[in-house]
């Protein structure tokens, strides 16, 4: 068909035109430390990638203003992968071979992170991923770290809450992406342990514009609650469709919901959605005794001042990668990959946006279950979910 040929040409043009990259260098003395960043600034994961990119630029600016790392300025090289694993791979090659960066932060999504993992190991370049799939750091490989909470913690938190609420039979829907399928697998893995029966488990197209037929199927399976695991705008559509279908079930979302814009998009339909995530989005509601509070409040207000929008946990991941890297390079007194990787493993009790990190040779995520809390949408805002 002629249209197919046209579609191919279109795809080519699309790829060629969106390979826009930008480099950002701050003036300063000495040899700058080059850090590569691969974020999905555009594409279906733009909700995560864009705040990550904005945060990274802001943090690098701050670090450079306060003297850089070991007196050297930081040069951040940002690449927009558009959420595509293929592009992430070619950017990773470019950053490792041509730019010879000291480390790579990102990528945004689990699929991309898994795709470039081997490249970073072979290229002896530390990778600090912002994605959540457990398989990124399990099995552990020397140069690969991640700062987002593992998806099994998220699944377990959802199940714990279900146990409290007496929910036993659930339906799981997830977007057909690395993130969605990873989460679906974790939910299926831990269900039996928490006495939960998954009556129906389905993947949907990440760009779906209406999910009423799928939710009809889920509803017909006689479930007590629905878990949606995705990062796309479909999260708001699920909430709206459930109300429009008059489905009475409690809706749980993954930590992918932690962006207030999804609440705005879902409007009244977002009320009462429960989901687990890091504490950033409720920073001002935390008790003063919380070790993260000061940092979280500062980051949120800095971000809001710089970009006129609310900070999200995803931007917080970018924040953590850069400060962990800074701490590690300063501890190692070198940008040598082996020494930096070793220094990250030695970091203990490091307060970040995503939680208090304690890395080790066996744990390249460093976060525990307690880095996460259950949240609820109340009056169009995020609030800590009060345990019953």
């Amino acid at each position: 068909m002629r249209t197919e040929r046209i579609a191919k040409i279109a795809a080519f043009i699309a790829i060629a035109s969106s390979c826009l990259t930008s480099a950002y260098a701050a003036p300063g003395g000495g040899d700058p430390i080059k850090i590569g960043a691969i974020f999905s600034v555009t594409g279906s994961a733009a909700y995560l990638g864009a705040p990550e990119e904005k945060t990274a630029r802001m943090v690098v600016d701050d670090i450079n203003k306060s003297g850089g790392i070991m007196g050297r300025q930081v040069k951040l090289i940002v690449k927009d992968s558009g959420g595509s694993s293929e592009k992430a791979i070619s950017f990773a090659k470019q950053l490792i071979d041509e730019e010879e960066v000291a480390a790579i932060i990102g990528p945004t999504t689990s699929g991309e992170s898994l795709a470039i993992k081997d490249l970073c190991i072979k290229g002896k370049t530390p990778l600090l991923s912002c994605a959540s799939a457990e398989t990124i750091t399990s099995p552990v490989s020397k140069y690969v770290f991640k700062v987002a909470p593992k998806d099994n913690y998220i699944a377990e938190w959802i199940y714990k809450t279900m146990n409290q609420l007496g929910i036993k039979k659930i339906g799981v829907i997830a977007s057909n992406t690395g993130f969605g399928n990873g989460g679906k697998a974790q939910l299926e893995k831990y269900a039996a342990q928490y006495g939960i029966e998954i009556a129906i488990s389905e993947a949907y197209d990440a760009n779906a514009t209406d999910l009423s037929a799928l939710l009809t199927k889920v509803n017909a399976a006689g479930v007590q609650a629905v878990v949606n695991w995705s990062i796309e705008p479909a999260q708001a559509i699920v909430a709206k469709n459930m109300k429009q279908l008059k489905m009475p079930q409690q809706l749980f979302q993954s930590h992918g919901f932690a962006n207030i814009k999804y609440v705005e998009a879902a409007g009244a339909a977002a009320e009462g959605i429960i989901f687990p995530c890091g504490r950033l989005i409720v920073a001002d509601q935390l008790p003063d005794s919380n070790p993260q509070k000061k940092l979280l409040v500062k980051y949120s207000s800095d971000y809001k001042a710089a970009y006129k929008e609310d900070a999200s946990t995803f931007g917080g991941h970018a924040y953590d990668t850069l400060y962990i890297l800074k701490a590690a390079i300063e501890a190692a007194k070198s940008t040598d990959a082996d020494k930096v990787a070793q220094a990250i493993e030695n970091l203990k009790g490091f307060s970040g946006d995503g939680g208090v990190f304690s890395f080790s040779g066996a744990d390249h995520n460093g976060l525990q279950m307690d880095s996460i809390e259950m949240m609820i949408v109340k009056d169009g805002k995020f609030a800590l979910y009060a345990k019953k």
Binding site: A213, A236, K246, A265, A268
Partner: protein
Amino acid sequence: MRAELFLQYLVSGLIYGSIYAAVAIGFNIIYNATGIINFAQGEFAMLGGMIASSLASRLPLALAMAAAVAATTLVGIGMERAFLRRIARGGVLKMIIATIGLSIAIREIALLIWGESVRTLPFFSGTEVSSVGIAGAHFSPQVFWVLGVTALVVAALTAFFKLTLIGKAMRGCSANREGASLCGIDPDLMVTLAFGLSAAIGAIAGCAVAPLTQTHYAIGTGLGIKGFTVAAFGGLGNSLAAVGAGLILGMLESFSIIVVPEAYKDVVSIVVLLAVLFAKPSGIFGSRAAGALKDY
């Protein structure tokens, strides 16, 4: 299957179908006037929804949408005047490729203006949680709006092409460009009009579906591809056929979910499209004789 459940799938199919049909109609006008497929049609729908959502906070909803439709119409006219007219002699394929390029440009500009955030339009009646129930099946009242707007647009278009002088001139120009120009019709003007009209209809569709589908800078690609599928499925050039085809495809996708995961919904519709085009290249409602007259 319980009758209630059957009805609910039927209604879901209606929702999908109405969204697809609304976008598909715009393809036909430009196709009729020029013989090309305008791959920026989905971007017209995106622009309509995005502009309306930006203005909705400052203006009454109806006014915001009218302004969005007007602005998108200008984009459509500008696109034809500034780019497509200059390469019209290069043949149909060149122009189609140019529309693909323009669609990417529009998308990138939209990203610069609005950023990557998702936006919505307020529901025309009720809110996000409003629901209408018919015999145990429930759906958003917005579905009525989408279907109503689509019906209105089809009726208005039919009247325009059958009854008004400009409409007749556009048809004449589409049937025989040289003949029409010998009769004193300016073919270039007709093509410009077709782009303006098609952009306006795309924007109307974009506004009507935005409360349901939400909107962001990249939504035009998906909507455009589905709209094109439906237009080709029904028979290119026929707006009523597009509505029929949209509803059929919507039903197919909705009922396919019973056996096939949602993630493969598009596969179902593409397989059906290929099967139909293989058996009947002019589409299910298209006439073979009319199809043969087109150079595309």
